[in-house]
Amino acid sequence: VSEFADDPDMVELVELFVAGIPAQIAKLDAARAAGDPDGVRRLAHQIKGAAGGYGFPTITDAAGRLEATTAGGAPFEEAFAALVQLCRSVRAGAPASARAA
């Protein structure tokens, strides 16, 4: 749940961000399937930069770990799975629109 769930300025924006997450996961999957660690790293980088600002610091941390792992050229399956799992568990958390993702 977003840390900004109670912030009226942010409700709409957080919902938009959460609504966009499945598309991000799809892009990550596509990059991994294509054997493109650079693509995975770039996507992880973007998610890292954005998620914290929307009140999801744990996603930022997980994306940061994935970015660092891919940048080092190491196998990144574990970090990848951790990020995707976290993303799937996300919901906006606004009372009016509470929904499980």
């Binding site: 300025d9 924006l13 961000f17 973007q46 890292k48 930069g49 914290g52 600002g53 929307y54 009140g55």
Partner: protein
């Protein structure tokens, strides 16, 4: 900045350019900065950001330093190298709290940084502080381009503005005219009635000139008793009419040093940029000033208190020789005052 009344433009909202490769971060910035009443524009890449900075000349740039391809630090360096953007403050946005990144950013000319995820109140406070500094800096620049005696713009401003207007006029084929005005027998006025009277004449002339041109025109004290009027989008006929009006207004100034009324007159040289280019092939701003100055000299020689249009064709060599007095005695002064 351009109006002839020299008050800072407080009505227009500050323009802030945010550059970040993540659309989500840009959306977040726009919501977080909304209470500030800014005009926020965004770019998602190095190239787009550089192009927008050059075109819009924003008051502040928020720059993500962790961008892929070229890093934001490279972009910061580029912005500081370009004359047009060098003075725009840059706040960088960084996900890392790494000291060396911060130090590097400051060394490249950034004024501040905000770490992501940013706290909304802190972000707004840092943006406000940077904009305050930018306003003070703009005011100083403006002050440095104002003539202390008359309140008109000075020659430094004319040089800068003329270069801009010339390139615009050439690119768009629009007429641009320059009037060079010189108060007649100014030295005699000073000698007869004292320098404070000379200063008063300049001030009175400056006052009505600033009021009688459009905001897009520039009135500058060029030096001594010389004043230039730069008229945008104005063909030579329009400029001649303005000069004639100013000539009459100058004669009509009511001045009474030591209780006795004195009439002050002025002479005018008028030139148009495209005509000067056609005649001389010289695109430089100085060519327009030289052409107006030559016409002013002719107006002085032919009796003063008159308006002279710059010549449009190059005079033949023998006609120049005829105009020149034979070389006996010391060379004549460049211009009668």
């Amino acid at each position: 900045m351009r109006a002839n009344s020299l008050k800072p433009d407080s009505a227009a909202p500050a323009c802030v350019l945010a550059i970040d490769d993540s659309p989500e971060v840009l959306a977040l910035l726009s919501v977080r900065l909304k209470p500030e009443g800014l005009k926020l524009v965004t770019a998602e890449s190095y190239d787009e950001g550089l192009a927008m900075a050059m075109e819009l000349l924003p008051d502040l740039i928020l720059l993500d330093v962790d961008m892929p391809e070229h890093s934001g630090l490279d972009l910061c360096r580029r912005l500081k190298e370009e004359g047009a953007t060098a003075n725009i403050p840059v706040i960088f946005l960084t996900g890392s709290s790494d000291v060396s990144t911060k130090v590097h950013g400051f060394d490249l000319g950034a004024v501040d940084y905000v770490t992501k995820p940013f706290h909304p109140a802190e972000l707004r406070a840092r943006v406000r502080a940077a904009l305050r500094m930018k306003r003070a800096q703009d005011l100083l620049t403006q002050r440095a381009q104002i003539d202390a005696l008359t309140g008109l713009r000075n020659r430094a401003y004319l040089d800068e503005r003329l270069a801009q207007e010339m390139s615009m006029a050439m690119a768009l084929g629009r007429p641009l005219s320059l009037i060079m005005m010189d108060i007649d027998h100014f030295k005699n006025l000073n000698d007869s009635y004292g320098h404070p009277f000379g200063d008063l004449v300049l001030q009175r002339v400056g006052d009505f000139l600033a009021r009688s041109v459009r905001p897009c025109d520039a009135v500058c004290r060029y030096g001594g008793e010389e004043i230039t009027l730069l008229l945008t989008d104005t063909p030579i006929e329009g400029a001649l009419a303005v000069a004639e009006r100013v000539r009459i207004q100058t004669r009509e100034l009511e001045l009474s040093p030591r209780g006795q009324p004195v009439m002050v007159t002025a002479s005018f040289g008028v030139a148009e940029a495209l005509a000067v280019l056609g005649r001389t092939g010289d695109k430089r701003p100085s060519a327009l000033i030289v052409a107006a100055d030559e016409a002013l000299y002719t107006a002085k020689r032919e009796g003063r208190d008159r308006v002279q249009r710059a010549q449009t064709i190059t005079p033949k060599r023998d006609s120049i020789l005829r105009l020149c007095p034979p070389l006996t005695g010391p060379p004549p002064a460049r211009r009668a005052s």
